[in-house]
Subunit: 543 residues, 2 copies
């Protein structure tokens, strides 16, 4: 027997309608190429999204067709989010920082029919265009005055593209499981893979992140997502902010500019900012140099990579800002855990709070977590058992786009293997200790390459380092420490290995050290361990 | 084309699982008949819910069968919530304050198979039992030591009922649209009507109320729902609190006892409390008399009836407590609007803030609102146009139980008519001005009976009052003021009518006054205007 409740689908267009009705005047401030401080509102953004939806309606697109973006965070990109998904198409946000061959692969694999692009990326597109097959037209996100010259065909100016359109538009009634957005994830190996979000997954994720223990978003917040709109839907902020009517401050191409970020935060009363550790490093360095304090900022959500303890400390002690570390993946919409203190923990010492703060956070309702051993048995949440972290929930991917049924990333019982190795403690806080493919399996036990790298990175002579597993007759695998020395530093192998004493258990200490000039890195700055392992394929430990 | 996201149903059992895993130790404190201050935790409550689910499994119930409760707010009632719904049955919470004939009607209409009952309500049940047809068994919510003597058959003690059961239980995979709970609403006319919630509607509503601008629930909150678990699922608190791991403080039968409520708030660090105006009146009166201040309480959500301005003021100015007025209905799960200030409103004067605070609040994402005129045209949100308030959303009922297709409460285009007359202002704040059936239609315009009643209630000689529409040759209808005078007071008609001058527009002022000894009231204390209209059916205005 079913309940007798209205069968209303969860659609992105209902967020648009809500923001328009209840938060019409609430501000959206953007840095764009044509305007250093553009001011608009949710009502105007949604009105222009309806104009854009009318324009899209003339292009002959079918439900589910992909419309791509190569763009920074600004109001026009936000309009595209609502117009494309709301009208029943798929908003495919592309990371412009990928290698050109990846961009070509992604545009072709997604079969993008139209591309909305920031003027700044036109030179990039011009280089790729000949190899991109299905693109029918390009819309440049600017006004006529700032249109770049180009030899490409069928290139339109965004402002002219929508100018003549009516702002009346009837959002279509879609199935809530319809695809709404597409985002490719580029691992360290193989071709990028597309994660295809639905209206339902997007809305449930947005509801979940609104909660006080996650982002805690209200209509009184002024929010600066420094995480790009092309990066997993900016962690859901464009949807959650519209749901509650928060003010959005969008830094355009100024993502990495500490001074611009500081000025935006100060002038726009930003009390919540979100980003990856590297952008916050730029901001913290700027404030230190300029002698500024982040007076208005109350909290920041940091994800995308582990947050260094000193960053949490600097925000807290020098700026009075609460850091909430989060963990997630493109495959998870992305939020899986967020770090906020539980009741009673407010009584802990500042150091004890940091011990918790450096963890990846605890699970939010809607994303189930489990940790599995090599035999597929679930491990206890005891703060010491570590294994493969798996997740399940309505905003976790079931497959990759056009690879349906071929994915090895899901278990037979329907969980997604994150590729992370984790420990969960009794309170539900997760610590990511490694990637499953990087973990070193020694005598049936796992050694965390990341933990070893974190230790050695604090050695004064080490510029960068990686630990990889090397085949070992007796133990199966043993760790090899690969080090890039700092200029003019010349530490010996023994000195480096002794540095691990009392910092890790003795059997974790690497068997040997190899020195190289530089580590192979991905486009997004991660160490390509696969390449490193290839490089050391013939390496053998000394007897 | 659909998204590629996991097809995970929204189920109440997943809330149980989440609370058990992430908030196992978080406290649940209850006042019960057998223990004045019972302490348990989410982990234990969910473990006992699994035991109860095993016990229910032996009763031969089918998916969707109704299991009723007649009980106060305590941990056992909470266990029943999770066990019954999680196992696939329907948790039918009954309001023990209804008239006996209504209780008999409801138990029979719902076809309840088992009843879980507080010992305090056993005498009530004994009076009704002969007329209740389908009940197979009764479980009394206490331990053996406190079991009441009874002549009824097949009566069990709750603690013994679950004691031998294992706490392992595999929650079944249900369709998220499956019925989860049933609650009857008793209007002023006709038989009570059943609202049948689904797992999906319950979870979406719980997600929505977690948000900072609604209840703002976090795991650090200690929450006292003085709103009963038998009243629209205590506004969703039992679910939302488990979703985020909030502490619950459950006052059992002490709902109306200002002193007990104060002591619970103080000893259990309650920072969020929810209830109807009448219980808060009892609390405020107690604190005033006893010279106490609600130091730990931070905010209270008040709904169920309009919140008097002086109540908001008393909480704010004497106790430093934020009042959030809410509006909703049993048919709406129930939350439709909640009153929190928007950005910039913090700069208003205390009086201006009160002007906003007395409104019913603004819509939250997930519940659409519209106001319609007599011809079914939508009215603007201008702060002055009033009409019939209609709502739509995934937690709004589509029909009443066993009355499917017969409901006159829904429009052809799928909106639910709330029966309220409302004004919505440009910021989306709703003011409820009347019930549609009580509004007086004079010369094509509407006169609010409630507003007139509010005015005259502040006259020093008026004990209670109601305004009803009386047929009028020229105007269609005109208002008649019906007054119960205070003891020893003897105001004249003219004096009362003149009291309206400058308080309402002149054409709203009633045409006449009638004095009576008492107003007809419903079981829940509302004026039975239908009876009053019958009483004055032959009344004619003086020429």
């Amino acid at each position: 027997m079913n309940g007798l409740m209205m069968d209303r689908p969860l659609l992105i267009s209902s967020i648009a309608r809500h923001a328009d009705r209840f938060h019409h005047e609430r501000e959206i401030v953007s840095v764009t190429v044509d305007d250093p401080l553009h001011r608009t509102s949710w009502g105007t953004v949604i009105g222009r999204a309806r104009q854009l939806a009318n324009a899209l309606g003339r292009l002959g697109l079918k439900q589910g067709d992909r419309v791509a973006t190569l763009a920074w965070n600004d109001h026009r990109h936000l309009e595209i989010y609502y117009a494309v998904s709301g009208a029943g198409f798929v908003c495919h946000t592309i990371n412009p920082r990928l290698f050109p061959e990846q961009l070509i692969f992604i545009l072709n694999h997604a079969e993008d029919r139209w591309l909305f692009i920031d003027p700044l990326f036109m030179p990039l597109l011009e280089k790729l265009a000949a190899q991109v097959t299905g693109l029918e037209g390009v819309v440049v996100l600017t006004d006529e005055a700032h249109m770049p010259a180009t030899n490409l065909e069928n290139v339109h100016c965004y402002e002219s593209f929508i100018a003549a359109e009516k702002s009346d538009y009837e959002w279509p009634d879609l199935d809530e499981n319809a695809a709404s957005a597409l985002c490719y994830t580029s691992g360290t190996t193989g071709d990028p893979k597309g994660v295809l979000y639905s209206h339902r997954s997007t809305l449930l994720h947005a509801y979940a992140v609104l909660a006080p223990d996650v982002m805690g978003l209200s209509c009184r917040d002024s929010v600066l997502p420094v995480v790009p709109l092309f990066h997993v839907n900016a962690w859901g902020v464009p949807y959650a902010a519209a749901m509650c009517g928060a003010k959005l401050v969008l830094p355009g191409p100024k993502m990495a500019d500490g001074e611009v970020l500081y000025r935006l935060m100060d002038s726009e009363d930003v009390n919540l900012a979100l980003g990856v550790p590297t952008v916050w490093l730029a901001l913290l360095q700027y404030t230190e140099k300029a002698g500024k304090r982040l007076d208005k900022l109350e909290r920041t959500i940091i994800g995308g990579a582990a947050v260094p303890r000193m960053m949490i400390e600097a925000f807290r002690d020098r700026h009075g800002v609460e850091v909430r570390q989060g963990w997630g993946m493109t495959e998870m919409s992305p939020v899986g855990t967020v770090n906020t203190l539980k009741a009673g923990m407010e009584l802990l010492s500042p150091e004890e709070k940091l011990d918790i703060g450096v963890k990846a956070g605890r699970g939010l309702f809607g994303c189930e977590l489990r940790v599995m051993d090599d035999e597929g048995r679930e491990l206890p949440w005891d703060g010491k058992s570590y294994g493969a972290l798996q997740v399940r929930g309505p905003w976790v991917c079931s497959d990759y786009f056009k690879l349906e049924g071929n994915s090895e990333s899901h278990t037979a019982d329907g969980w997604f293997g994150t590729g992370d190795v984790a420990i969960i403690d009794a309170e539900g806080f997760v610590t990511i200790t490694d990637r499953t493919k990087d973990v070193i399996k020694s005598g049936g036990e796992w050694i965390s390459s990341i933990e070893l790298e974190n230790v050695i990175m604090s050695h004064p002579s080490v510029a960068s380092a990686a630990v990889i597993g090397i085949a070992h007759e007796k133990w199966g695998e043993r760790p090899l420490l690969v080090v890039v020395r700092k200029e003019n530093a010349n530490p010996g192998k023994q000195e480096l290995l002794e540095f691990f004493n009392d910092k890790v258990v003795s059997w974790w200490i690497p068997n040997d050290v190899a020195f190289i000039d530089e580590l192979p890195l991905t486009a997004t700055g991660k160490i390509k361990k696969l390449d490193l392992r290839k490089q050391f394929a013939d390496y053998r430990f000394p007897d």
